[in-house]
Subunit: 483 residues, 2 copies
Amino acid sequence: MKTPIVSVLGALLLSAAPMLPATGLAVAAPAATTRSPDAIAADLAAKALASDLPMQIVTDLTTEIGPRLAGTEAEKRAADWAVARLKALGFDSVRQESFTITGWLRGEEKAEITGPAPQPLVVTALGTSVATPPEGIEAEVVVFKRYADLLAAPEGSLEGKIALVTEKTVRAQDGSGYGAAGLIRRAGASEAAKRGAVAYLLRSLGTHDHRFPHTGSQVYAEGAPKIPAAAISPPDAEQIERLVARGHTVKVKLKLTPSHPGTVTSQNIIAEVKGREKPDEIILIGAHLDSWDQGTGAIDDGAGVAVVTTAAKLIRDLPQRPKRTIRVVLFGAEEYGLLGAKAYAEAHKAEMGKHILATEADFGQGPVYAFNTRVADPKHPSIVRIQNALTPLGIYRGDNAAHGGPDIGPMMQHGVPVVNLALEGSDYFDTHHTPDDTIDRIERKRLNQTAAAYTVFAYLAAELDGDYRQARVADAPNTASGN
Amino acid sequence: MKTPIVSVLGALLLSAAPMLPATGLAVAAPAATTRSPDAIAADLAAKALASDLPMQIVTDLTTEIGPRLAGTEAEKRAADWAVARLKALGFDSVRQESFTITGWLRGEEKAEITGPAPQPLVVTALGTSVATPPEGIEAEVVVFKRYADLLAAPEGSLEGKIALVTEKTVRAQDGSGYGAAGLIRRAGASEAAKRGAVAYLLRSLGTHDHRFPHTGSQVYAEGAPKIPAAAISPPDAEQIERLVARGHTVKVKLKLTPSHPGTVTSQNIIAEVKGREKPDEIILIGAHLDSWDQGTGAIDDGAGVAVVTTAAKLIRDLPQRPKRTIRVVLFGAEEYGLLGAKAYAEAHKAEMGKHILATEADFGQGPVYAFNTRVADPKHPSIVRIQNALTPLGIYRGDNAAHGGPDIGPMMQHGVPVVNLALEGSDYFDTHHTPDDTIDRIERKRLNQTAAAYTVFAYLAAELDGDYRQARVADAPNTASGN
């Protein structure tokens, strides 16, 4: 670890310090200020709000790389891009940590109503879905307007049929509507298969009303036959509902040709701003680098990559680094079941106790509207100071039942205390996991407020003293946690 | 033709007349009223605004038939559906008039950036496009931000390249932005081919910003090589623009496999409300029954079919029919170049002089905001009375440069006077010719106002006296026209 003085000089030399044109020498570094952490946090917020960096990063990632499906060459290109970018930004200890996953690649995907009113459907395979036979599967559709109705259907009742669940995903600021609907996608295929279905369809999880399907992963249950699983767009689901409501027997033909390349490699990317006093203590801010393959992963999760990178970069460029280390983790293979997060928690098991606070940005572009924690003492003075610094950004104090973010889950199980900068998600599922997840969806003003919030949080969490320890849900302190 | 008395009774028996439960007999028909045409028009408007029929028709057509590409079995199913429906509604002389067209069927369509940032593009072939070789065409893309720039490119300058025009379609209430951009789609492929291009792409004509391409027809120019032609979605066009602006050489691979089934049959559907005094004089209200194949043709032109059918039905159900005949024409093969309209004008050449006024509903769901004419005397007392009847619906008096609607063009060339009930089109090109053109886009209130406007117009045009004769553009009376 460098001494603080060297660190400060290094930061200045690497940052955009004004040069004296006549000599080419950097101007003298200002002495470390005696400004309070709170004042520095306010400066950082102002810088983040005005920064071009968040839009640059998400634009570059989605343009130069595009979609980045886990375990593919595209994800690897994104990882190499990220390493180069993080090094160019001057971070410490930039590295890739590889792990293996079971790959899956989308193939052809086609569905059509073959009777009574022949017409194509807009469909997409769910991640991990098996293929149909090459000629497809043609069968009568049984519609369930509630997932509960599928679960209530007796064994054998779907013999030879295609099950279609048309339950709607409810729009909610915190994404809880998607949470409530999640099992329809993740578990529905096996539930249908147990009852005899030959294929499984669902109305896309998502709140938009466009002719896009919404992909995402699903998991086959042990012991159930593996049947092809796919999502159709909301208007297509409603078309079938209407035909069935009119008394028609609706037949659908489904053709999916995904492939399973076996064991492939993914990777997490790590970059740090080493702390000046307690470099082994870690404030972790994460996002995930992989994306689904239909859009370019701007909202999910290019925005998060941009936000946490910007936060760390602005802190890195301070005249004096904070006491603790800020670690940026760009997780791989999030979309396939938090595989990068699990690999990270496993690889870093020994230092879990040194993770002072962890959070992720993986819910779109924001803005951040609430600050939630899961710590033993949610009124800890440092937590109060962080909240006070966030308030001017339009962020209120939320609850103490934070989850940290998808990729933080495995760490949380190791007792790491977590926070959430709760992101405005009312429109997140209009775009998430659809072809519409592209850079033009990102609004600079929203993204920059989010970057400001993460910057303020990361800086103060790294600068202020405090050993937070994790709290159980409902604010019960978890004395066994922390390491 | 039936006598008026029989007609009125027939109308009552076929309409939803209240039945006396005890006897099963219809209640006595009320005597023909002595109310003024203006008062009857106001009654009709109120009925149209409250009617379930417009939503029923557009829902039924898009659900029971779905997409109806010209010359296909689906268009024929739609035609048979329409005949049955129009007969059930009690119209006179319901019939199909067949004609032949050159068929075209969409095949597989795929495009991807192969370098420098490999990623799929959302693409759709333009109608009449030739296929690529089975393995596709891979070439460098040359971007033209203005169509004028392509036209200014010298011969041979696109040798071996794919031309991409990314000019934007401007949002405009009257659709003039689409009009201004039309040649980019219709003529661009041949212009590119003349300069050596091996394929032609354009940014979708359309005002939406979603990941949909916008299809539509194009025409190969005589003498130019026929090259594949397709549209990519707006975000995809911007992605390529960004990569090129960054100095990259962008390569795209395009694969299209449309087929050309040769001569196929399409048909116009005709239904009438025979006039009580001048049954050979025709007020023509049209719409088109065919649609593009990606959506279900709700906006284009299920809405128009619903509106003109409702208008004629409400007039048909009056105690006394108007003096002139109202003819509903549901044109076939509009999307392939007004082929049904041309067939109609040819087949009915002899009675063109008996077409007193003609208009079409082919610009979405409305509402109608202006009443435009193209008649010799735009201040004709009957025109003024029609306008007065439309004003309460929120419709102002427009200009005297109406075009009648796409399918009215061929008639207009025969001198038929035309009007336009100008439809609100600000959002029309958000949906038009995309997969998003589905029934959920239709708002009942907008559709019903449109139906009310067409009902009022058709009724008064058929009831009031007036020989309008066509005016040339800019209000110059065209004394040679009229038949």
